[in-house]
Assembly symmetry: C2
């Protein structure tokens, strides 16, 4: 018997996890234990047609595969992308990417004949946490990604919720104030206009104009301001910056209490740039969450930080998406 | 072969559906096609211990069973009750019932050795709609029961959402206004203080004091006022009553848009006394829902009236709860 084929088949099985972003696309090989055994990146170049992108992805990922020691069997491909639809395996009108409508399955079938799955980055992050991270073993939880916007992924009864049309998990577009801040989606007062990196900066500007509180942030234009500057100022005791975090957490906690009323999750996991601010965001969020919870849920819901390495999380999430599908078959 | 035992077993199988209310308990035998083949009721008498109640239930339901023609096999018992916990099979601190904590499974095991399941009335209603009603064949939907309060039941991926601790589906306690109306749960501004039979009456009182609009409802005390009087007035063109319905629907639609952002349901089903007001509540709710929906969900989510006969719905729902469990085994 040939020793190569005699090796246990699943020991060498990996999936390709791909995270398509507006500027760059990260990809890597993920084993079934959630180790990213090799990773790389390439520019997305969405000014070129999707067909060109997927050809380049095939070339780049094949090259990375060749660099791996030993025999590797590719079991599937998982893709995370903005506005991705799991049910249709499509990407539809993604923000910050020039493509209109991409039939991801058809594009990949030109190059591969293995299982493929597509979802948005927050859903991929939820599956990453469930298979490999802070939600391991949980059957009911919510992940909130606090980046430029606010994304979310919901798991109930051990399964990701895609909903009737595949777009469930848009907690960022629940309403905080129907006459509130203009949102990129066209509505007013969406949660992500308050609770996200951008939302935090908008709150700083609001405090600058509404109060006379001295702050180093008064010297920075809105265009230049980013969440990191606000958290740096807060860590140095800037009271206006601290207040901005308190307001952000207080709104987030109140709306998360609504999410708990719907779903009774075991945990809510915060992920992304703003979550990295630690207690600055966790403390006011936890306080407001408990305060607004229906009594039966009080002191039960864990508010956790993601346990995935942020550098690998997107690729791990996309890998978890396809591993989750493969292991259920 | 004895002709009685030769009959196909499942033709004669029924479940006992029980709906425990503050004053009365309804019960009936439900076949697997959702027909309530016999029903009855008895006073709940919660001033007596739960053990007495379940003995009486056994006696009354056995009596009803004897009145049925032919041989009937009892396959299981489903119970709907306020503050019922599916995971623990308990009733915990139910409002309007004097019991503190009832271990329903233990109580029933004294009399029966068949499968038993317990849930709250809104979850039972959701299963009733899924197995026998307006949600037949749907995998993602929400039911909203508009009675004295606002109850809800959520189905995702074809399964009822109980959440980590069995109490999911408390949409009535999401926050409309954190400084708003006092709720029975101890919080302020819960959805059910605005959108329920009681909420509608509170809105009428608010309009009476805030406006000078003439209305026949000005002659009725808050204590005497009920939702039926408001809908009768509205149907007769009373502008204040019409306005109260518009406000109720507008708040309900806005908050249901949040529910859709979470779950992307195929349909939202309204059930109960207030839903019976038809267009008076459906029109403003639908309008506000569409207006507050994240664009990707617009013109997709059906807003439906329950298709179950209201007189049988609670018993059918409790029956569906146990049928759902039996058919999955």
């Amino acid at each position: 018997m040939n020793p190569e084929t005699a090796a246990p088949r699943d020991l060498s099985e990996v999936v390709l996890g791909v995270d398509i972003g507006g500027t760059n696309t990260k990809f890597g090989y993920v084993d079934r234990n959630g180790r990213c055994i090799a990773k790389s990146a390439m520019p997305t170049c969405s000014d070129q047609p999707p067909g060109v992108f997927f050809s380049r992805l095939k070339d780049h990922s094949d090259l990375l595969r060749k660099s791996l020691p030993g025999r590797i069997e590719l079991a599937g491909i998982g893709i995370g992308a903005p506005n991705a639809n799991y049910r249709r395996a499509t990407i539809e009108h993604p923000p910050n990417i020039s493509w209109e409508y991409v039939d991801v399955r058809s594009e990949l079938e030109k190059h591969y004949s293995i299982p493929v799955a597509v979802t948005n980055d927050a859903n991929a992050a939820a599956l990453g946490e469930m298979l490999f991270g802070a939600a391991k073993g949980m059957k009911d939880f919510i992940i909130i990604t606090l980046g430029t916007g606010l994304g979310s992924g919901i798991v109930t009864n051990g399964e990701l919720v895609y909903g009737a049309d595949g777009f469930a998990g848009e907690i960022g577009h629940t309403v905080v104030d129907p006459k509130g801040r203009q949102c990129g989606c066209g509505k007013l007062g969406c949660l992500e206009t308050y609770c996200s990196a951008t939302g935090l900066c908008r709150t700083v500007q609001e405090l600058i104009c509404n109060s006379t509180e001295p702050s180093r942030l008064r010297h920075i234009s809105f265009h230049e301001l980013d969440a990191r500057m606000v958290s740096d100022a807060a860590m140095n005791g800037d009271t206006l910056a601290l207040k901005a975090f308190d307001i952000t957490g207080s709104i987030l906690g109140m709306k998360l209490a609504d999410s708990v009323a719907h779903l009774s999750p075991e945990a809510i996991i915060l992920f992304g740039g703003l979550a990295a601010a630690g207690d600055l965001i966790f403390k006011p969020t936890r306080l407001s969450l408990e305060q607004h919870l229906f009594p039966v849920f009080r002191n039960k819901v864990k508010l956790l930080n993601s346990s995935l390495d942020e550098a690998d999380a997107a690729v791990l999430g996309a890998g978890a998406l396809i591993w989750n599908l493969l292991t259920r078959r």
